[in-house]
Symmetry: C2
Subunit: 344 residues, 2 copies
């Protein structure tokens, strides 16, 4: 079968690899019907050092179950399923607490033993705990929005939840990538009254406004902080959704959060420490977040997708076949595309 | 009147100063009947550089109202009142959210324009929002425990609340000072099943056990982390109450918190950044806390004190008059005393 393999920064190839197959009784084999390229895939695309072996890419997908191991009971062949970016057994104490990303028998797709989803097929470990069967057929018109439940919409929601967005409060979203845009949807959905997007790309800003952003801040650094303070009577926002993961985005986040407020981090951190530990203390600011347990959120978000109340699928502005996945990486890296959908 | 003034590290004096008096219509004048020396007073006692002027010390007290400004309505002369370590108007949006330490018209006792409570009397700004009238007389036997509502018990409770201690979960308290010991009380009160105290002073450990600590870890650094992991099946604790405020105590806290858990900081931070930002992210760990809005907690904690269900006043193991306050600082600094009560 064909799959996406990354060798080093800028070097993504579509290659023939051994067919995916059931290895353990708890596995399911799915044929990928939709996958996508994630903002977090751009980190290795920019930074990966060659190590002589390739890495299977992709951790977001919807597919059709082709085969199941003998211990799989929650899904059956023919089911259309969404695959969260982390696999999890659904039974350990972390899964029971709704933190499937810390599952005692779980892990992450793409890299290591587990393959990637930018491929024709994929073996899903811990299928019962991982997969969620959707009440749609594989060509449903809602497919783009359903696909975001595997990562970006759940991740934007996690940013909003960990930043404690609530009704009538002020929220800021740092970053205008697909996750940031889903963060706007999530903040609006949870009732934020003021929703400030920090971003500077016209196409993304336009979409953010349609999703419910009330203010746009295109400045950077100290100027961005000053602008948010202006927009919030000098107090800052109750909730910051940190959707980038750099030193600068974290410094901005700490500069715009209000006393008693929270920063929910979902941008994969490329920094070693949380800055401003003293002001953070004196202002009783909370820093939270991490990889989103999207599996826990599907149940809550799915009805809003099925009934059209939220349309996170609009973050996809380009669709490619497998052969064009490398060009999809290039386009996202060049900011020509917000998010690329893959139809293998 | 006499008051405690600190000039530089190790140099604390009892001096005659101008009598405290009403300055604004929202002020109340109280005669101090009980005050204390705080663990946080030891920071300037160890580090304060001479700057030519003295600093009024003390931010915890119970007193009797002697006079009120014309705009004070919530307390009246003769009332026995507890004074939280921060003053607050009780009316701004932060006070309404229960974060009185960030009051738009508030501040902290001791230092600056506002005097200290290790004195015969003190002028209380924003008396209506700040003071809490107690249903006892000034010599009530519960006075030591009531006095802790001005800081240490409320602060231990804040550590537990921000570390999200809840029923049946595991908690660890880093630090065996008076706040840490009150953290043990708070963790027990909120239903923690396992309560691990990290400390090494036999008198404090004995008290912690009486307050409900189930395990004691007297190792330090990596050995302390390993020991807590042993005690928690290798997973760590759901809640860490950080009651010290050093680099090392913070590193220990991050090393013993479980995935999905929380670190509640109440130790005044003497570090610039929160370490381990990446593991903290991948494990979805929350860091929270700050100066405790003790004014918000009095209502909740007072019944438990009045009915004897909690006895935080047991942290006081020495009582001094004003003249002996300097020796009280020395004794706490030398760890001869857990916490010193002052009867002016």
């Amino acid at each position: 079968m064909r799959a996406t393999i990354m060798y080093k920064a800028g070097d993504v190839r579509i290659e023939n690899v051994p067919d995916a197959s059931i290895r353990n009784p708890t596995d399911a084999l799915i044929r990928i019907t939709r996958a996508c390229i994630c903002g977090s895939d751009l980190w290795p695309y920019r930074l990966k050092k060659p190590d002589g072996k390739g890495q299977g890419m992709g951790h977001e997908a919807i597919g059709v179950v082709e085969a199941i191991g003998k211990d799989v009971h929650a899904v059956k062949p023919g089911d259309v399923v969404v695959m969260p970016f982390a696999f999890s057994d659904g039974a350990c104490e972390f899964c029971n607490e709704g933190l499937q990303t810390s599952c005692l028998h779980g892990g992450f797709f793409g890299g290591g033993e587990v393959g990637g989803a930018q491929a024709e097929a994929l073996c899903i470990p811990q299928a019962d705990g991982t997969l969620y069967a959707l009440p749609v057929n594989e060509d449903d018109a809602l497919m783009p929005s359903l696909l975001t439940l595997s990562d970006v919409m759940g991740t934007g929601h996690h940013a909003a939840v960990t930043a404690r967005v609530s009704k009538g409060k002020r929220a800021a979203i740092v970053g205008d990538g697909a996750v940031g845009l889903c963060g706007v949807i999530a903040a609006k959905r949870l009732g934020a009254e003021q929703i400030i997007l920090l971003g500077r790309h016209p196409d993304r800003i336009a979409l953010a406004k349609q999703f419910g952003a009330t203010d746009i801040v295109s400045e950077r650094g100290d100027e961005a902080i000053a602008r948010v303070q202006e927009l919030t009577r000098g107090l800052g926002v109750h909730s910051v959704l940190e959707c980038v993961g750099t030193d600068q985005s974290m410094a901005t986040s700490m500069g715009i959060v209000r006393a008693g407020g929270a920063v929910g981090r979902v941008g994969v951190p490329h920094y070693e420490a949380i800055p401003e530990a003293k002001p953070m203390f004196y202002d009783n600011i909370m820093v939270s977040g991490g990889p989103a347990p999207v599996r826990a959120y599907i149940e809550e978000l799915l009805p809003d997708v099925l009934e059209g109340r939220i349309e996170p699928g609009r973050v996809f502005d380009r669709t490619v076949g497998l052969d064009d996945v490398p060009d999809g990486y290039r386009a996202m890296d060049a900011r020509e595309s917000i998010k690329v959908m893959v139809k293998p």
